[in-house]
Symmetry: C2
Subunit: 612 residues, 2 copies
């Protein structure tokens, strides 16, 4: 099998867009009229570059036209949209597309309370921002949001700063256009919708009735594992099993004939992510990194394609560390790095980890762990797809990004002790104000971090201990979280932060205690695998955008034993994660699937991938 | 009676110092040898200006010689002192004075535990600072500290920054010299010791067994009132009574013949302060403002002196607002400003203020209050002596200061709301960090306040709400306390602070809520009365030092109806107050008594004082 053959999976999509690419510019413009509400200038400007190599490239160009336009033009674009109205159906001034979208979600069937809420909130919104509230009411899956969800969204966005809300409206407008474009061209993000639906199915299992909570070895966790096995079996994996620590593994065998192996066995490519969640977490964190490969294998199986390597997809059982405060239990075991000392850790009810495992008949000991640990030399490496969990791709208007490194980090708990004294009687110059020292440190630390590319520094906890309005602060505690793409940069950031902290405290004659609570190594992407992801993105007609991962991922564990590289998929709502608002669209997930298939194609061209 | 006659009260002191002033410089130097441990250069340098006008002027010069010397000389002075040692008695290298001082407090009678503690702490102290621990072991009254108090002091000062501890050692050395000087010259701060002892007697009554707590209408409070009445009666006041709200009032009648009054009645001078305390408060806060005038009247009565005005001394029953959260109940009633709406206020046990008053047979209503409210035109004004409750006089090495104004103030509760987001995945530039906004505001506010003379700005409470190490702060609450000597300066400070806060939040795209919780007017001193205090200080041979009061005092209430001016007496331990460490020496209290007698003398020269 070759990369060319693999890409035939996406033939339907390619053909449909290919037909559009072949028509003339004027006809294309006519097809796309109304894509942007009363603003056909956007389509006309974009189509100067017609024909486009891909749907993604066309969409990208449309986004660029808007972002390159003047603020007045962008404001006019937003204002061209009708407000979300219960009366949409009868208002003839509203464009047909908008009418049908608003009607789809039943805005014309509002209860009196819903009508009242919408009317009031719309008025407040218009009053605050000076433009109407824009929401792609068809939602992230294109099937329509509930009226309750629409009202909640309006409520939430009413609290945003104007500049951010302006940008969010433009993003919603592009999302509306993206779905209208599908209709015009007869396209559908089938694979993305499959991934979205699979995530939805998995999210049916939760420990809480309200939000999504799946912690290690809970009933919901077991149900998730069972569903993953079933999904893998349906997809056509050759082997599906659950290992001792709860990892769900599916292997789609390669073709040794293609692999060029002398011994009749393929190398393996490992991929996957975790299926546990934080409390009240999101449906996509971890899980799209399992579901996208499963959907890809569905396609491989359906078209009878075999790769020149085994594809091993793992749903890691534990990454978040919620229940036992120990992270990476699943990927740690696979990497052969399971730390037996964590078996004594207890959950909130006092249940020990080893007891919880034994209750399931899982006997974890050095011998049994050996059977899980992979032999790194069997592997080409590990790739992981993950929702970004940050705002960078959203702000760049890009659906995909190539991860350069999983940032290393260091954490500290800091205590600053000055002299508590009377706020009225202690002159400014004689003070030993612990909070003033903390504030000066924070302001300067922010500057330091800003000057170091891709580094972040955060004071997330901060408190004047027993503070009173009329007492100069005598004691402050604060937390410090420093992250950088390489260990060298991390150490430089740590050193600068510590010098700054010590100098500030010395200058202000306050005392300092600083305790390191975490030191984690950076996991830079293997250049070869990162290159392959970048090529896969470029193949989609999208610009290559590189970013580090500020959060930890299973790939950090695998990094200890084999080359790894990650792909990030944009998250909606400014990339919020560990939160029910975490969201991804079927269109972005579609691109994730396509990029993964492209990656398999890239790696097929060179199965003995020379790596990190 | 004239001022000259009044000053005869201090004749003993004056004569003793006068004898010293008459001897030659060499003999004087010989008398004062050893005043400073192995450092007679200090006495020799100071005596270049011999003879001095007063004891206070000599002491002041000694302090100046040390503060004008090089750091090496000051360090050598500190190092010339022996460590506090349980073996002091047998160590022949230690100067005689130090041996007898250490022996006085029984350092040679240490238990094994005390010996162990002293040895260990002394070693740690020497290790940290590089010089021995210096403490005037005779204490603030000259009678010797307990060994437990010495060890506690050592423990506390071990935690100080080096620069402050260096200064504190020099202050202790001057205190040691001050007491040695008394011995050499045969002087004694008799009046100061009387005040100190009276404060000690008053402090026997407390609601708590541990610390000093005297809240309004408690058993301890009633006992204090009874003791004050008794002290006033013993002192020889002509009238002593307790009024409806618990103020203890003593009137020492003036001589209408001297007053020049046509109607045979004198004008009155009111003085006094409060006798209630905060929880676990100090023994001197408020109380020296009652005890110094009582001791002064003792002297007037003993010498048969009558002033050309009535002297009315009031122990105000309530100033701190601890029990019912309403402040100035005592002075408010005297000023005719008792707010009847506070009668419904409840204490922590749900007891209403009016119930608590009625239980004592105190019926507070508009009619009964009329009998307390003074007629302002009967008064020359109000003067109040108070412990500074701040570090300024200590840092200036000055025992007394003339108050220019009681600062006006404004307080706010501020909430800053940004966007909580992942500390790892949110780049520095995309953040809406509520804590970073607070920190920037705090740093700039500090600069603003520093540039406005005698103004202070304090963020005393500060907290990231529900902060986590790995989450960019989404919400911060902080308190803001702004004070300035005049209402104009206060309003300017408020305006600058608010502009700064709004600009910072706007720039950082975070939202702001700011609620004013207090706005209090400044109470500038009446120029005539302030002049009289300054003349009284100058008469002692001390430099005139002016400072505002950052804290509120009873004089603020009287300010609403009559001229007022305050005198501050230095507090030990960097002026700490509302704390058991609050302290004043009998020598400083002696100067307070002398300054008050001088003030009476000043005002006697012009009984129809032209005022504010």
């Amino acid at each position: 099998m070759t990369g060319a053959t693999l890409s035939s999976i996406l033939e339907d999509q390619t053909l449909a867009f290919g037909r559009f690419a072949q028509i003339g510019r004027a006809e294309a413009a006519a097809m796309l009229a109304g894509l942007y509400e009363h603003s056909d200038w956007i389509v006309e400007a974009a189509l100067q570059d017609h024909p486009f190599a891909s749907l993604a490239a066309l969409k990208r160009r449309l986004v660029e036209v808007v972002s390159d336009s003047s603020r007045e033009q962008r404001l006019a674009l937003i204002r061209a949209h009708p407000p979300l109205s219960a009366k949409a159906k009868i208002d003839e001034s509203i464009a047909k597309d908008s009418r049908s979208e608003q009607s789809l979600v039943g805005l014309d069937k509002c209860s009196p309370e819903e009508f009242e809420a919408l009317t009031t909130l719309n008025a407040q919104y218009l009053e605050k921002f000076g433009w109407p509230f824009i929401l792609a009411v068809r939602g992230p899956r294109g099937l329509g949001l509930s009226r309750a969800a629409i009202i909640a969204s309006l409520n939430r966005r009413l609290a945003m700063p104007a500049e951010e809300e302006f940008e969010e409206c433009l993003r919603q407008i592009h999302r509306i256009a993206e779905m209208r474009l599908d209709e015009r061209l007869g396209l559908e993000p089938t694979l993305g919708s499959q991934v979205w639906d699979a995530c939805e199915a998995l999210a049916k299992f939760s420990e809480d009735t309200d939000g999504l909570t799946v912690t290690y070895l809970s009933e919901a966790h077991k149900n998730c594992a069972a569903l993953l096995r079933q999904q893998m079996q349906s997809a056509g994996f050759d082997e599906v099993f659950e290992d001792l620590v709860g990892n769900v593994v599916g292997v789609y065998k390669g073709d040794p004939g293609q692999s060029g192996s002398a011994v009749g066995a393929c190398k393996r490519l490992m991929t996957g992510s975790h299926y546990d969640t934080v409390r009240n977490g999101g449906k996509y964190d971890g899980r799209i990194g399992i579901q996208i490969p499963i959907v890809a294998v569905t396609q491989l199986k359906k078209t009878g394609i075999r790769l020149p390597f085994d594809l091993e997809v793992i749903g890691f059982s534990e990454e978040e560390g919620v229940r036992f405060k120990c992270t990476f239990l699943g990927s740690g075991a696979v990497a052969g790095k399971f730390d037996l000392s964590v078996l004594g850790a207890t959950d909130a009810n006092g249940v020990r980890l080893d007891q919880a495992l034994q209750a399931e008949g899982r006997i974890v000991n050095p011998d049994s762990l050996k059977s899980i640990a992979r032999e790194p030399s069997d592997y080409l490496g590990f790739v992981e797809i993950h929702i970004e969990q940050g705002p960078v791709l959203t702000q760049q208007d890009l659906p995909l990004g190539a991860v350069t490194s999983i940032n290393g980090s260091a954490r500290y708990m800091v205590e600053i002790r000055g002299l508590a004294s009377h706020a009225g009687t202690t002159p400014m110059t004689g003070r030993r104000d612990a909070a003033a020292a903390a504030a000066e440190f924070m302001v300067e630390l922010e500057q330091v971090a800003r000057q170091m590319p891709d580094c972040v520094a955060t004071v997330g906890q901060l408190q004047v201990v027993n503070g009173s309005t009329n007492v100069v602060p005598g004691r402050v505690t604060l937390s410090l979280d420093l992250r950088a793409p390489t260990n060298g940069q991390r150490d430089e950031l740590v050193q600068k932060a510590m010098t700054l902290l010590e100098d500030t405290c010395h200058r202000r004659r306050v005392e300092l205690t600083c305790q390191q609570t975490l030191l984690a190594s950076a996991a830079p992407s293997a250049p070869g695998l990162q290159d392959a992801w970048e090529a896969s993105i470029a193949q989609l007609g999208l610009p290559i955008f590189r970013l580090p991962s500020g959060a930890g991922h299973d790939a950090m564990k695998l990094h200890e034993v084999m080359p790894q590289a990650m792909l990030f998929v944009r998250g909606e709502n400014l990339g919020i994660s560990h939160n029910p608002l975490e969201s991804s669209t079927n269109h972005d997930l579609q691109l994730g699937c396509e990029a993964f298939l492209n990656l398999l194609s890239q790696l097929s061209l060179n199965p003995h991938h020379p790596n990190a």
